[in-house]
């Protein structure tokens, strides 16, 4: 599903984002990308989202070499990828329902499909009762659930999460992780960059550790580090 072959990203100022990365993620996997700040996590996420192109090597998503796509094809690649960020990125002047519907509307989904899918996905993330609320009326956890609903409403086969629990207290974070686990069990491949040691240790999923732009550890079912 996701294949990075010998991927190196060097920034124009000469600093190295990632170097010689080989990473293969199969359909339905749940993968944590861990590492300290500056280890290359963000670069890796940006390469997957095609916000950046590799300096050398290939990034393949769904059998497509993303570095060979032209501009007009990128939106169609991104429809395969749901994204969740640490800062939620909700539209403050739209309700929960409208925030989620927005993601469908901008890829020109038919109104009928929007009316059918949005309530379904909102009840999946446990926000069925909050669809008319505005983001500032929601708790952090509820805001992140809204963002998650938005990320999966178009049924992307891959969900990319960049520190999704970074702004949440441990209890709320656990709820979000439970939700991500449910989504993963429905067949969605999940790649999650995180600092949260407890969560990684608790989930016991595949863990890829980055350090100075290199993969230094890749374990099938493990914790944040070997000591755990």
């Amino acid at each position: 599903m996701i294949h990075l072959n010998n991927v190196t990203k060097t920034y124009p100022n000469g600093s190295v984002g990632v170097e010689g990365i080989n990473l293969h993620i199969q359909k339905g996997e749940f993968v944590f990308i861990v590492g300290s700040s500056g280890s290359g996590k963000s670069t890796l996420i940006k390469l997957l989202l095609k916000e950046l192109d590799p300096t050398s090597g290939d990034v393949m998503i769904n059998m497509v070499k993303t570095n060979e796509l032209n501009r007009s094809q990128v939106p169609y690649l991104r429809r395969n990828l749901g994204v969740v960020f640490q800062d939620f990125r909700l539209l403050p002047n739209k309700t929960v329902y409208e925030n989620v519907a927005f993601a469908m509307r901008v890829i020109e989904a038919p109104s009928r499909t929007i009316r059918r899918n949005v309530p379904a996905v909102l009840s999946l993330v446990g926000l069925g009762q909050k669809s008319r609320s505005y983001p500032n009326e929601l708790s952090g956890g509820e805001q992140q659930r809204t963002a998650l609903a938005r990320a999966i409403v178009n049924n992307p086969p891959i969900l990319i999460c960049d520190e999704p629990t970074g702004n949440l207290d441990p209890e709320t974070a656990r709820g979000i992780m439970q939700l991500l686990d449910d989504i993963n069990k429905r067949g969605t491949t999940i790649v999650m960059a995180t600092h949260a040691r407890e969560i990684v240790d608790e989930m016991q999923k595949r863990v890829v550790t980055l350090q100075d732009g290199h993969i230094v550890r890749d374990v099938e079912k493990g914790g944040y580090s070997d000591e755990a």
Partner: protein, 299 residues
């Protein structure tokens, strides 16, 4: 494109304008100023051209011949004048025709011509020379002045030249002013759209991640620009129609001498100006928004 998508894009475009009302108004005013100048110069210019056309039809050149020419010589001269470049027609007017025409012109007062007949008619043989366009009058005059057998030539040269000069100066200066105002309008629209793009940073970012196409992201901003351009064009054009009519009737009322000059009717002028102005305004909007998007919207 789905109707719901079109509705959505229109709504987004309009909401962008509302959120950014002050800049929107400034842009509309700039476009309106540009379209006003365009309309004004078109109205004046088209009337100037209209007057020149009337002069072409009515004035022409009158050539009066020496009294001692024989019928044959007159005939030869007529052919020669007919051969001059830009002359389209030469009409011979005999002294008797001229006298009849005079009598007709004076109407009720024709008795002052009583006693004049073929034997003592003081009027001379003449030609009425018509030209293709009035711009060529001076070159034809030069040839005529070099011919023998001509007593005098009467023409509207000075008036014509004056009108031609006014028309030329006016055309050049109005195009210049219009260009400058057009550039200013485009720049103000660009700035308005830039602010609108900044206001919607988060939205654009999300649209990008969920896979909206470039054009889907850009269209609301283009729509914003077009709406600015259209409003900026329609307001001065609609105001301009009654104003034009009022000015023309005022000129007729207060300057009676001018009655022999016909101004163009409001309908004639705006039949062209209205659609052209609207398209021009819309084009300013498109140019402004598209350049701004190219500069400020990284999708």
């Amino acid at each position: 494109m789905r109707p719901s998508t079109i509705k959505y894009l229109l709504r987004e475009g309009l909401s962008g304008l509302r959120k950014n009302l002050l800049m929107t108004m400034a842009s509309v005013v700039a476009v309106a100023a540009c379209i006003s100048i365009l309309s004004f110069s078109y109205c004046v210019g088209s009337n100037l051209r209209h007057m020149l056309h009337q002069m072409e039809d009515s004035i022409g050149i009158s050539v009066f011949l020496n009294g001692d020419l024989s019928g044959e010589e007159i005939e030869t001269m007529k052919t020669e004048i007919g051969k001059i470049d830009h002359v389209v027609d030469v009409e011979y007017i005999s002294p008797r025709d001229a006298l009849d025409a005079l009598k007709k012109e004076w109407g009720a007062d024709e008795d002052i011509f009583e006693g004049l007949d073929d034997s003592n008619n003081p009027l001379s043989h003449s030609f009425q020379v018509s030209l293709d366009t009035i711009e060529n009058q001076s070159s034809v005059l030069r040839v005529l002045q070099g011919m023998d057998g001509i007593d005098s030539i009467r023409h509207g040269q000075t008036e014509t030249e004056f009108l031609l000069k006014v028309n030329r100066v006016f055309r050049v200066s109005s195009i210049l002013v219009m260009l400058i105002l057009g550039v200013i309008s485009v720049m103000i629209i660009m700035n308005t759209i830039r602010i609108s793009v900044a206001n919607r940073r988060v939205e654009i970012n999300i649209m990008k991640y969920v896979g909206a196409t470039d054009w889907f992201i850009r269209l609301p901003f283009v729509i914003e620009g077009v709406i600015i351009g259209l409003i900026g064009a329609i307001i001065p054009l609609l105001l301009g129609m009654p104003i034009y009519a009022k000015i023309i009737s005022a000129i007729y009322a207060y300057i009676p001498v001018i009655k022999f000059v016909q101004f163009r009717l409001m309908g004639e002028v705006f039949r062209f100006l209205l659609p052209f102005g609207v398209v021009f305004g819309g084009a300013l909007g498109v140019i402004g928004s598209v350049t701004s998007i190219r500069k400020h919207l990284r999708v």
